[in-house]
């Protein structure tokens, strides 16, 4: 034992040990993957087939569930609603937060830290705390059943995280660049717009991806703001579809699989920005 100890590298270990470690990872992978695979295959079955043959491959394969959803207008309308709400939310939150983060990173003035702390504290209070009075306010402003009633609050609640990440990034850009720009006659906004933002492109990408994902998955806010189902986003549509076709399990499965695809596709494209944003946000928040 003592002779083999120092030879043993921590990354390889014995073949037996690495086998058992691998087993843990594989079991976890099954725990994660089986529900997803089950739903994908279930969507290709009929509900009767699903209850007689829950595990096996569909026999015969029935593409009708998927076809029916993809051919239906409401699904595409919800996809469109989710998309433009996510895009507008992202534009608003990134624009507003970038301006504020610029001031917090680049200007010295009294009360700056206090103001920044106030914004950062917003991180702790998501919708659950404010949803009820928010609903009352939105009703007062006439923003119920209006996409702005979702976009603006989402942007407001997304600001703390966005400002924290962008401020950190703006601070890291050397002061000499700003001085040079000012000497060349750049206004503060000119510096912000033509020099700082282009330099901060990776950080902008990161916070944009976070904003898109948060908006895409938001449930509570659209739930109270939208009563007209022509405005529904995908999470509301999923809940509604489940309510309508609760007994037709295979069809509901096909629906959630189709509803997953945009998010998973986005994940495949933007994985790096997403992960760096989440870890940066968590470490600095």
């Amino acid at each position: 034992m003592s002779t083999s100890r120092h030879k043993q590298s921590p990354t390889s270990g014995g073949p037996l040990r690495s086998l058992s470690l691998h087993t843990i990872v594989v079991i976890t992978a099954l725990f994660v993957a089986v529900p997803l695979v089950y739903a994908v295959l279930g969507g290709f079955k009929t509900t009767r087939q699903l209850s007689s043959n829950p595990i096996g491959l569909p026999d015969p394969w029935m593409p009708e569930n998927y076809g029916g959803i993809l051919a239906s207008g409401p699904f595409w309308r919800m996809l469109w609603n989710s998309t433009y709400i996510a895009v507008l939310t992202t534009l608003v939150v990134v624009a507003v937060s970038a301006l504020a983060a610029f001031v917090f990173a680049r200007f010295a003035f009294r009360g700056r830290e206090a103001l920044f702390t106030m914004f950062a504290a917003g991180l702790m209070f998501p919708f659950a705390v404010a949803i009820l009075p928010l609903f009352v306010l939105l009703r007062m402003f006439g923003l119920l059943d209006n996409p702005l009633g979702v976009i603006l609050p989402q942007a407001a609640f997304g600001m703390p995280m966005t400002i924290i990440i962008l401020r950190g990034f703006f601070r890291a850009i050397p002061g000499e660049i700003e001085e040079a720009a000012i000497l060349d006659g750049c206004t503060p906004f000119g510096f912000f717009w033509r020099i700082l933002l282009p330099m901060a492109r990776p950080a902008i990408a990161t916070v944009s991806v976070l904003a898109v994902v948060n908006s895409w998955n938001q449930f509570m806010l659209p739930l109270v703001v939208f009563s007209d189902d022509g405005l529904f986003t995908i999470p509301l549509g999923v809940q509604q579809f489940q309510g309508q076709y609760a007994t037709d399990v295979a069809r509901v499965m096909a629906y959630i699989v189709v509803a997953m695809l945009p998010a998973l596709g986005f994940y495949a494209v933007a994985e790096r920005q997403l992960v760096s944003g989440l870890t940066a946000g968590a470490v600095k928040g």
């Binding site: 921590p10 610029f102 009352v136 998010a263 470490v283």
Partner: protein, 308 residues
């Protein structure tokens, strides 16, 4: 510099600051601060939430009612239960998997991608997926249990198993997120440190226990913080799957608030619940940042200074 700067220049600086901050201030005060203040105001009234402002002042009656309400006290207990389960089961799982995936395992990029995928799905999709998988009649979970000779469970339909079932769904959805945090934290530990420990004769477990784990402290504390805040505000999953039932046995504070605020039109009472949620989050966050994460924050600021 301050003294030589002409007055008009400073004034221009001030207007620049104001103009740049104005949109953020308007949005933040209008849609974050104002609602929270309104919740405080409404919490001392009996109010059905109809147009106009509340008029029937009741003092702290909503709060005394709250503290005597069994459902609300149950919400608190269930919140604590979820926090404990997260800390004892979910976070160690995330940490363990992160450490395994840090090693040279076949297909680790694939596993990482897979484990994080559920975090990308909305709570609504996750909820509906597990309503079918954990269905008491012919859900997948009962089929699998049947192979091992276990009798079918009622999952969400039984008050005694509903919280466990909710926790399974939460673990499925969120452990990959914490895993990603731990992987990032682990990558931030210089290899020299673990190598030095190995040269000194430490075995795998001892390296983990005495080198890696202490150095992961900041990441673990952040991960605990996010778990607790998440458990306090849990809503979407529970609302879609059970609506808080059967007979309130899976209700959370947010669900109770939503029930009273949007279904029973007792907006004053529901606001009192919002206020309590606000204070629980605030007290926890202040306490945690003051006593648990203080050293981390100091460390973070020195790192930032070095970067500048």
């Amino acid at each position: 510099m301050k003294t030589t700067r002409p007055r008009s220049h400073r004034l221009r600086g001030f207007t620049t600051i104001l103009l740049f901050l104005l949109p953020a201030l308007v949005l933040f005060f209008g849609l974050v601060v104002a609602p929270i203040l309104l919740a405080f105001y409404a919490s001392v009234f009996k109010w059905n939430g109809m147009r106009g402002l509340p008029t029937d002042f009741v003092g702290l009656a909503n709060f005394t009612r709250l503290l005597a309400d069994e459902v609300f006290l149950g919400d608190l207990w269930r919140g604590v239960l979820l926090i404990i389960l997260s800390l004892v089961v979910q976070l160690p799982l995330s940490l363990g998997i992160a450490m395994l995936l840090n090693q040279r395992i076949h297909g680790r990029a694939f596993f990482r991608l897979l484990f994080f995928a559920p975090y990308m799905l909305s709570e609504a999709i996750t909820a509906v997926l597990f309503m079918m998988i954990l269905s008491p009649t012919d859900g997948l979970a009962n089929v699998v249990l049947g192979w091992f000779g276990v009798d079918p469970l009622d999952w969400f339909a039984d008050p005694s198993s509903v919280m466990m079932s909710v926790f399974i769904v939460m673990t499925w959805k969120y452990f990959g997120f914490h895993m990603i945090l731990y992987i990032a934290g682990r990558q931030g530990i210089p290899r020299e440190l673990t190598e030095a420990a190995q040269i000194d004769g430490a075995t795998g477990w001892k390296v983990f226990r005495y080198v890696t784990l202490p150095l992961l402290g900041p990441t673990i504390r952040i991960s605990v913080f996010l778990s607790v805040i998440g458990a306090i505000q849990l809503f979407d999953l529970v609302w879609i799957i059970t609506g808080g039932g059967p007979s309130h046995s899976s209700e959370t504070m947010a669900v109770t608030m939503f029930q009273f605020g949007f279904k029973r039109f007792q907006v004053g009472y529901a606001s009192a619940i919002s206020v309590v949620m606000f204070f629980i989050s605030l007290v926890f966050a202040l306490f945690y940042q003051r006593y648990v994460m203080r050293r981390d924050l100091q460390g973070a600021s020195t790192v930032l200074r070095e970067q500048r």
